[in-house]
Symmetry: C2
Subunit: 209 residues, 2 copies
Amino acid sequence: MKQPPEISISRVAVYLRFLEDYLKENGPQSTINSSQLAKFLNINHHQIRKDLSYFGKFGEPGVGYRADELKERISKILGLRKKWNLCLCGLGNLGSALFAYKGFKVMNLNIVAIFDSNPRKIGRTINQVKVYDPANMQGVIDKMGVNMAIIAVPTEAAQDTVDKLVRSDVRAILNFAPIKLSIPAGVKLRNVDLATELINLTYFLSSSA
Amino acid sequence: MKQPPEISISRVAVYLRFLEDYLKENGPQSTINSSQLAKFLNINHHQIRKDLSYFGKFGEPGVGYRADELKERISKILGLRKKWNLCLCGLGNLGSALFAYKGFKVMNLNIVAIFDSNPRKIGRTINQVKVYDPANMQGVIDKMGVNMAIIAVPTEAAQDTVDKLVRSDVRAILNFAPIKLSIPAGVKLRNVDLATELINLTYFLSSSA
DNA sequence: TGATGTGAATTTTTTCACAGCA
DNA sequence: TGCTGTGAAAAAATTCACATCA
């Protein structure tokens, strides 16, 4: 059982999301096998079993998986049984949207602090969450027990923000700025770039036209 | 020169984004070589050259790349020299945010129509863009010349939305719903799932604690 | 029998090493 | 000399095939 590749972790997260819906429709006693799951998710069944095998044994030969058990165990493995405290850096267009997005809370991911350098925003409270001056980042992060961060600041402020976060001991960061940030070892950074995703599509349309 | 892998297309899009900034700072005559670019972007220089090699020859041995020429040629290859008309499906939290997000327009990506099934939203106009009833999708898409779509509807409505889009001849779709959608061959679909990205981080923190 | 879990084979992606050009 | 572009090597991910177990 080797260290799971990052991409398997992502897929297992997708399996988990699916299982939640599946359980609601089919009841807590339901079972599912890798071929059914593969069909629903539009991928191949070898991959599902291989992905799961990095994390342990979950099924019964000849039967499949107990859906509720699989869900619970994956959920635990992915670290979703405990609550996480996030800070959101940048309360512009994107930051505001991410704050409003309901998909996080469901997963025990709670934004507990917001940082924005705009003096007009600092001090405001939105849905019980306060907007702080980035200059006070370290103190706020300590006080609130923040363990993850979302970067939604303008590109030119992103590296500075990540440096501040790292100095405040945040070790897991999701970055929306279209730039590859430098981080020290031991810190995990994931990037989401919306425009880049769309460019894959424009290339597809242009090259297949 | 083989078909470029999807991941190379994504990276080349990142190179393009960087070159735009680089040109602003260093002037239109500036050059850059793969090692410099690699350093800035925090990746390795072999990869940059390999990625570019899928698309053609761009540099001068012993010198590097003319930044403006590289930018222009990449931009053309990625299909960003023409204007694209997008429709946004779903004007909830996330949809509203995506609509407000300024990173798209810069890349010639324009949202020209919005679909939302909420009767209170249908008929409204936001920033010159009208909100339409999804029932009229095909007609609107034809009329507005929509060639790409963004799906930001609730998960349970996503497959239905994609089916409608496909029937309306949209062949490139960016999906934010946490579900693997079924599409026919010839249609390109990319998925962005924000919660899944964060789950990679919770796994990292849990397993390294 | 029917499905899992996993080594092995295959394919893809990344990294390397170097020929060739300015 | 210095850097590009690319075939080859290495590494990683995906797919396959099958032993194994209920």
